[in-house]
Amino acid sequence: MPDAMLLIAAVGLPFAGAFAAVLLPTHARDAAAWLAGAITLAALAMVWLAFQTVADGGVLRYEIAWMPSVGLDFSLRMDGFAWMFAGLVTGIGFLVVLYARYYMSPEDPVPRFFAFLLAFMGAMMGVVLSGNLIQLVFFWELTSLLSFLLIGYWHHTQGARDGARMALTVTAAGGLCLLAGVLVLGHIVGSYRLDEVLTAGVRIQSHPLYLTALVLILLGALTKSAQFPFHFWLPHAMAAPTPVSAYLHSATLVKAGVFLMARLWPVMAGTDAWFWIVGTAGLVTLVIGAYIAIFQHDIKGLLAYSTISHLGLVTLLLGLNSDLAMVAAIFHMMNHAMFKASLFMAAGIIDHETGTRDIRRLSGLNRSMPFTARLALVAAAAMAGVPLLNGFLSKEMFFAEALTAEAPLPSAFWVLPVLAMVASAFAVTYSLRFIHGAFFGPDPMDLPRAPHEPPAWMRFPVEILVLACIMVGVLPAATVGPFLDMAVRAVLGDATPVYSLAVWHGFNQPLVMSLLALAGGVLLYLLLQRHLLGGAEGVPLLRRLEGQRMFERTMVFLSWRLARTLEALLGTRRLQPQLRLVVGVAVLAAGWAVSLRSFAPGNLLPSDIDPVIALVWVVGAACALGAAWQAKYHRLAALILLGGAGLVTCVTYVWFSAPDLALTQLLVEVVTTVLLLLGLRWLPKRLDAPGARPAEVVTATRRLRDLALAGAAGAGMAALSYGVMTRLPPELLAQHFLKLAYAEGGGTNVVNVTLVDFRGFDTLGEITVLGTVALTVFALLRRFRPAPDSVDLPEQQRDQSAEDEARPDRVDGDSLADWLLVPAVITRLLFPVIGLIALFLLLRGHDLPGGGFVAGLVMSVAFILQYMISGANWVEARLRILPLRWISLGLLLAAGTGMAPWLFGLPFLTAYFSYAELPGLGAVPMASALVFDLGVFLLVVGATVLMLIALAHQSVRGHRAATRPAAARPPIPSAGRIAAAVGED
């Protein structure tokens, strides 16, 4: 099988399996287990197939360029070290799957469990097989996320949720540090490819950023591997189902940290900084973890702290900056994976068959479950480092290293061996406690369940692992030798030292230390018996050292106190200060930019001032200022003045050669004014009482400040505009558009050609926005409830009605109809004329001012006029406008025109045009852009009309609601009525 296929399968299969498992029914336990088992075996087979190549010193590689310009490639790489880890991940993974099949209860949603587990396995394979550091970090964070899901699998319990959250917070935060560190490392090396990073050791260590990269990367690795002071998350992760603990804390999640340190060891290690950081963290973790483990009453808690301690051992070995220590570290990674996985499984069996994990309640299980007891005994002995078991071998190597390590402080040469021995004695003590506490002593009293042996297949994985512990312990060179050699050579290369994998090295110092530790551990256990049997909670001497409490405090501080303080200091829920801030910052930023580069008018000579336009703008400015002045108390006046300013703007467009803009502005002005007029009715009355109460000082100050801000913004805009207008950039896109408008767009109105052809995609987006806004307006108004004081009929309408009611020959509404009779006749006559104008503007748009937007607005004005003059009821009785249909048709037409070129193999929105000879009319331009423009037209009509009608209908509703006495009249026309009016039932 080619390397590429093999690597992709090894990483991809677990993910594919996870996806398949998700699709299984919730309680398909067996199917999910079979699937997971088959997938894991297949992945294991992939790893095994790669063995020969890797054993010969080869490296399997597979790369797909993804974003090569920034050094991001999908890259898989398998050397001996990665092979060893991949083997552990899939091998122990398979045993865990088998075990989980029997451990998980049929009531649990087991397929989800296996889906998470498989995805986690895939992520872990991604970590160990990544050939690119960024990609490695990606998979790294993926393992954090998936471990969150796995630990929180029983999310109905508080402990699982807390444990999962803590694990995620700590490891993912570490992962972010790692990402930063990897970016720095990539910056130093100039590449994120592992192959290149691993050959750049000298450059990395001599670079000024070395320490930064080192600290950041180590933060990632040490949090992941639960090293002091980040160790506290691991015991809480024990809330996970036991197979998860067996997997995460033996071969995978926590090993990722030490994996990474070992991976980068050849290029990052060897410095004092590395020695002090890694070595200290490892040593402290080794001792404290082992010490705390002794006092755990929960057997999983005991194993958790033991895991922390053993990871500390590995970390310490990595920190010693010695090649032989590196060998010992890799060896211990393998050994620990084996005995710890089996111990967790044994703990799970005890929990499963007795219903408790509390050592104080367990006792004498040796009689009811003798097989499990013996298996656990052997595994625990391996953990304690008893001779003839694998743990002993790597511990011997560790002792040898501890004795020969070059201490930077010569007077402290004894510290390391002594602490190593102490920690080793602690390991003996907690192993003894586990075995003696659970399996020996009197028969257990009142356990939740009567203990008995588990199903044979549930014990099978433990048997395999324990067998491996014994085999490696007795015949190390024959069993694990080749794999270890392969892994070590992959990391150390030519620097691989000579080491001996023998059980018996003679009666030497390490052996003496081992024997001392064994004896010391047993003695300590005997001494502590009474204290432990007392069942006191907590750890003597270290009670105050609770990482969890620090974590909680930090979290409370960060996510609550700090956030609240910052919000109180900097935040406000009031709009005005926010807007003031936005405008203020904008003004300041512009001022800052000007102060940096100085400000001067451009090189173009300003053209002469035309008195007409100057006069027009005197009016325009007066209108704008008047609108600003009157908007509070005289809304109608302000609205009229706003219209004045709009008209002057429109005149400016005409004057300065923008007929399309002028047309659009004029029509939008009309529609906006109608819209705002419709809204006025729902606003509260506010009467101006000048001088009644002088403005308070605070208010006056605020107004002055706002005035200053507005003045600054206005002056700034004026200066900016002047500066821009007096400059002409040398290369304008316009030249391109002007040249090609006719040749390629087939139209002479360059603005329109730009809209429907050159920048057609923009226009498509913009009409989509317009349609969305119209639908939003419609949706918001369906549930509209006016304020109580706006429900009554307006005064003017009441006057009219009063007049009608006063005279017997008239009915309500007659006055209105009479007054508007002449305009009504005119607008009804005008309706087809306006429609024709709209059509004319639409058709000529490509060549002359006009186009879809303008025509659409004209058409909607035609509709609105009818509504305004004759009233909604009159219009809807005669004309059913279906704006939603117009909108959808318009959007479909525009998008369809865009997609049509696909049929001819052309890109989206490619325009087509030609001239068609029509009898009697001569050559008529037929451009696909016209169809697009038709879509724009339909959508603009639909959107505008929908918004205006929806708003207008509120008045009808309000009117009916107000005039309805108690229950005599028909029910209030509500959402349904507007819906009917716009054609949607």
Binding site: F656, M725, T748, V777
Partner: protein
């Protein structure tokens, strides 16, 4: 001429900003409209102020900047005008809904305390 138009933009923007900072929703909507005039004029003016040079070509003759005004800012502003109409409409409806829900037309949904 440039001076007149830039002063006009300044006045429109200044009035708009003033209204934007007022407490009543109707004032804010007026302010947004004025501000959009100012911004549209500004974008338009980046193409230069030209008289009698509408970007409409003769049939069959490619255009050039000597005879025609810059069409690009015009095209941008054209859609901007329509979109600003849409946002005005949306804001108006939100304003009305907020007034219906809270009974006040203050921008914060409640009158200022004290």
């Amino acid at each position: 001429m440039e001076l007149i138009v830039s002063l006009a933009i300044g006045v429109l923007a200044g009035s708009g900003v003033w209204l934007l900072l007022r407490p009543r929703t109707f004032q804010v909507i007026m302010g947004l409209s004025l501000l959009s005039y100012a911004v549209n004029l500004f974008i338009f003016s980046t193409g230069g102020l030209r008289t009698g040079a509408a970007p409409v070509l003769e049939h069959g003759v490619p255009g050039n900047l000597a005879q025609h005004a810059d069409p690009l800012p015009q095209a941008l502003v054209l859609t901007a005008i329509v979109i600003s109409f849409a946002t005005t409409a949306l804001f108006l409806v939100v304003l009305l809904a907020s007034r219906g829900l809270t009974g006040t037309d203050h921008v914060d949904g409640r009158e200022r305390d004290g």
